[in-house]
Symmetry: D2
Subunit: 339 residues, 4 copies
């Protein structure tokens, strides 16, 4: 049994606790939070769990084999590095860290100590995203033309990060999992409409080496909730609407057919439109699959599907997007990502 | 009665012809097209109309008081300037011209000859857009925070223009009508997925002097048709979905409330969420209202709501967006627009 | 060429005229309407067409081979029987006649004179309904369990018929085309909410011999337009939503699996849920397909897919439903339908 | 503090337990279920709760003031009458009992012992239904014309009751709360598609004395989930869609305007169509409001909004509907309901 300690019992922590409490092979050992009220709440729901106000208590507990971190972004690095140094395996809520140096250091420390470092890119573990990855990998879409996502709603203002670090991180982690190839440059725009607050609306374009484009639209001040991604390919196209209760992924047999025109240099573009199909999806909660995968990686020494490197790639793009946004769309090149 | 000649009887021309044939005060006199087949089709539907294969026939006809131009963009300027020089009033399909020099020259020529020059920004004449303009003008939205539109579908590739000049022109013309203030700079991105074809997907960010942002997403290669605009304001927010059969405009009593926190420098952000309302809209076809407005401007010497200047403003933004897109998001400043 | 005369140029007549004007092998010869204004409108659109205020003019015209009738229901019989007696082929708007005696008489007269008698059950000629028929005929749904349709909106009150004769006729004609087997009994309810007006809301249940049920809900006083049919089968289920712009027919791989329980008499019911598929549909206007089919039946002596017998079957069910509705749901048995 | 015992910890019981565990003024004392596994699950979540395999243990516990019953319908009466006889207050899951005799006896027993008897008509306590009740009571809809609900999905087959007793009970309880006046007669149809199973699809028409009609459509074998109610009135109409995430209730300013025609006996019907409005709704879980109301009724001696009488009225209609369904739509008159 892998003993799990969870630090942070605020908005997201209870979901981690619940899933680890039920994951086969895991034992929820300790919950840590600076707030006694939150700890009381944790004990009310999980009477047998130990609670700790101080992180060192959790780290010092030898029955804790792995630590799951669900605290504000600015604390991710300090908590994660301390856990690794205490020889714990670590799962960190997204984004992995506040900047790429920190992310790299976590990767290095985990490698040095041979610990599992995993980032909580939750959507990667949902049935919808895994189905899309499978379709793309099988080549069903043909060449990918574009990836376009909208993730907007009337959301909580975060005070320590802007909307890019809060919402775009989801789409970047999905893209990191789904798309072949990594982006080479980014151009982003966005503003803060509320004086003194971080940017609440942003638009990010990613350029890929192979004539592919991705675009993310994130907004905390939208009147309606939208979670919709379009993926265009030469053979098929996908609409992924995460708010649909069951048919979240629709595959359209639509596209363009190219043929030679009368003149040798001429290219005729015609449209193709066929059936639409919504495949059956695994209905399991993403976090459940993720918790089990984390345990499996620890027990069997596997590399997580959302390992430190994927966390670092996402953080590097977030940094570049923020830099571009501050400079109103200026192109920021991304150094090549390691395979 | 104002005698109307229409040049171009392809995709859009028949709509102009139909609406002028039925507009009070107008008389459809002549239809001009280079294709005899198209002219035969026009005669089949409007047996009393004269048809002309050559534009000069139309211009030389003294019973033609005004010319409506529905031809490819690249021909707009030549046809319009010739019509003005023949002392005709002119209505030009969007965009007004291929570049801002041409647009300026048309404005100057129309002024010199005291002719009406109007651009066919059709959406400006729809019940939905007019209702939104009314709401914004009355201050119901409070300060405008952002304008975000998506206009995508599996659309026809145009060979002489890219998707910006084909689709974004609609959103720019709506914004020109609705929003107080004009944009000061633009950053755009986009690519062509089909070798040898113009860009089929583009994203345009417009920066306004007063901390307001606008963003347009246009795409000819999308699996589904979307026509949705979000307008965020400090008091209310609008969702305008042009594909809704009747409730195209929804007004959300949602937003952010700011209050002073305990510390003097602290600002608390809280959310407000109230009723939603979908106002009754004028159901008349936009082009019908537009045709009547054109006649009214000619007869009563009024300035069109979509006059040459609005056509020029839109063309200037299109030029800037295209320049930015070619330079992958590079900020292009816009010289101030005249009031 | 088959010469076509159309009687009635009100709401539906112009659609018939337009489609016959464009149908290969047909020639639109004459339009008849009691209103000179309507005839002037017809001449404006079809300048070469003859117009007649009196039906006898149309019947007396030897170049009229076939008559299409688009007049109030109460006049269908008189106009159709006169046309048949004048040796014309006849297409009658739905429903075929005001009662089953009239419908039978029309069938007999057409048989006697060897003329084509067809009823304008338009939906039968749409891509959506034809696709459903094909799926059912191929057995893709397995055993049909139920057919449930909703056809409601804020519709025009008809003064000569109630909502059953106006709206349910569509669903009955679709069912007549799609379903194997004919209903054996009917129970209907409904009321008029507006004093002095015919019933504006009605519910009709049809019982089939083979443990299948159908239900229609029709309403002229609904706040929203709904055109949705559910068809349940043992293997698959269909949702047909005629208001969807393109994906009108969705096939759900859902159903119930029966298996023997531990005890011999025990039956276990479990659920099956798989992919959903929206097949590509023929986009042609139903009435276009229908007009061509009518011409084809005349020229090649074929039996129409919506012949007099199908018109009679629908009228018999309408009569039974109305009788049941007046008696508040009382079961009305239907005499067996001939094959 | 009111001590609460819950009997039945299957599908619905955990919801009752959770809400009573959190209701101010209530103390969750005991959970009773015949299955030791279910009790273990209850203890896991609520470690301080007592569990009982035998109902008598629960009834014998003097710290239990009130019993909430969430067991199969066929057991409701025995469990409830025993609880009342043990001088407990009682909340019974819907429907109150298997027949009206039982329901009447429960009412009588509760009155005799001065105990609160409440039925768990959950929807009555949701923000959506309470808002509709308020609108109807204020006369905003004018005269009610009809009430039409659809409640279908691929649902679990219940073995002890058919789809009417499982699903229609919800709509009947909502109608009992919302509508002025009670139904006078019922006509219902329905069948079982699965041999040996109870009816899985049913249609129920209710006739009201004042020219108003209600209709319920319930189905356990539908490919999609629908929860939609239309309420037509002379002034306004409502669409209540319980699957909408936030705008569940939409009020349409639509209807019919009657005016005298030229002839004294003539009535002209014209349509009115105005704004649509979706009012803000109380977002609290219905069961939370309901649990607090139950406690309040016990503590302050109030009559529940869903008291035994409303439970009885609903059961009487269910009985009549079932009788009519068996007789294929035969009208079943309902004896007058007491005020």
């Amino acid at each position: 049994m892998i003993g799990i300690g969870v630090v942070g019992y605020g908005y997201w922590g209870p979901n981690l606790v619940r899933n680890f409490a039920e994951a086969p092979g895991a034992k929820l050992v300790c919950v840590c939070d600076a707030s006694p009220d939150r700890l009381a709440e944790a004990r009310r729901r999980y009477p047998s769990v130990r609670t700790a106000e101080h992180y060192n208590e959790l780290l010092g507990d030898p029955s804790v084999d792995a630590v799951a971190i669900a605290t504000p972004v600015s604390t991710h690095f300090d908590l994660a590095i301390a856990a690794l140094r205490a020889d714990k395996h670590v799962l960190v809520e997204k984004p992995l860290a506040s900047n790429s140096e920190q992310a790299s250091e976590l990767i290095a420390e985990a490698a040095r100590r041979n610990r599992v470092l995993m980032v909580d890119h939750t959507f990667v573990y949902t049935g919808a995203v895994r189905k899309i990855e499978e379709l793309v990998a099988r080549g069903e879409l043909g060449d990918i033309y574009y990836y376009d996502s909208v993730r907007v709603n009337l959301g909580l203002f975060q005070h320590d990060v802007n909307v890019i670090w809060d919402l775009a991180v989801h789409d970047l982690s999905i893209m990191d999992f789904i798309l072949p190839g990594k982006p080479a440059a980014v151009s982003a725009t966005g503003i803060s409409n509320i004086p003194g607050q971080p940017e609440n609306v942003a638009y990010i374009t990613l350029f890929f080496p192979d004539n592919k484009i991705a675009h993310l639209h994130v907004n905390w001040l939208a009147p309606v909730k939208v979670r919709r991604t379009l993926i265009g390919g030469s053979e098929r196209m996908i609409v992924y609407d995460d708010l649909e209760p069951s048919e979240k992924v629709k595959i359209y047999d639509k596209g363009v057919t190219l043929s030679a025109g009368e003149e040798v240099y001429e290219l005729l573009v015609s449209y193709r439109s066929g059936d639409m199909r919504a495949p059956k999806l695994d209905q399991a909660e993403g976090l459940q699959t993720e918790a089990r995968h984390f345990i499996d990686c620890i027990v069997n020494g596997r590399k997580p599907q959302t390992d430190g490197s994927s966390g670092l790639r996402v953080v590097r793009i977030l940094e570049a997007a923020e830099a571009s946004m501050i400079d109103r769309g200026k192109l920021v090149e991304l150094a090549p990502f390691k395979a």
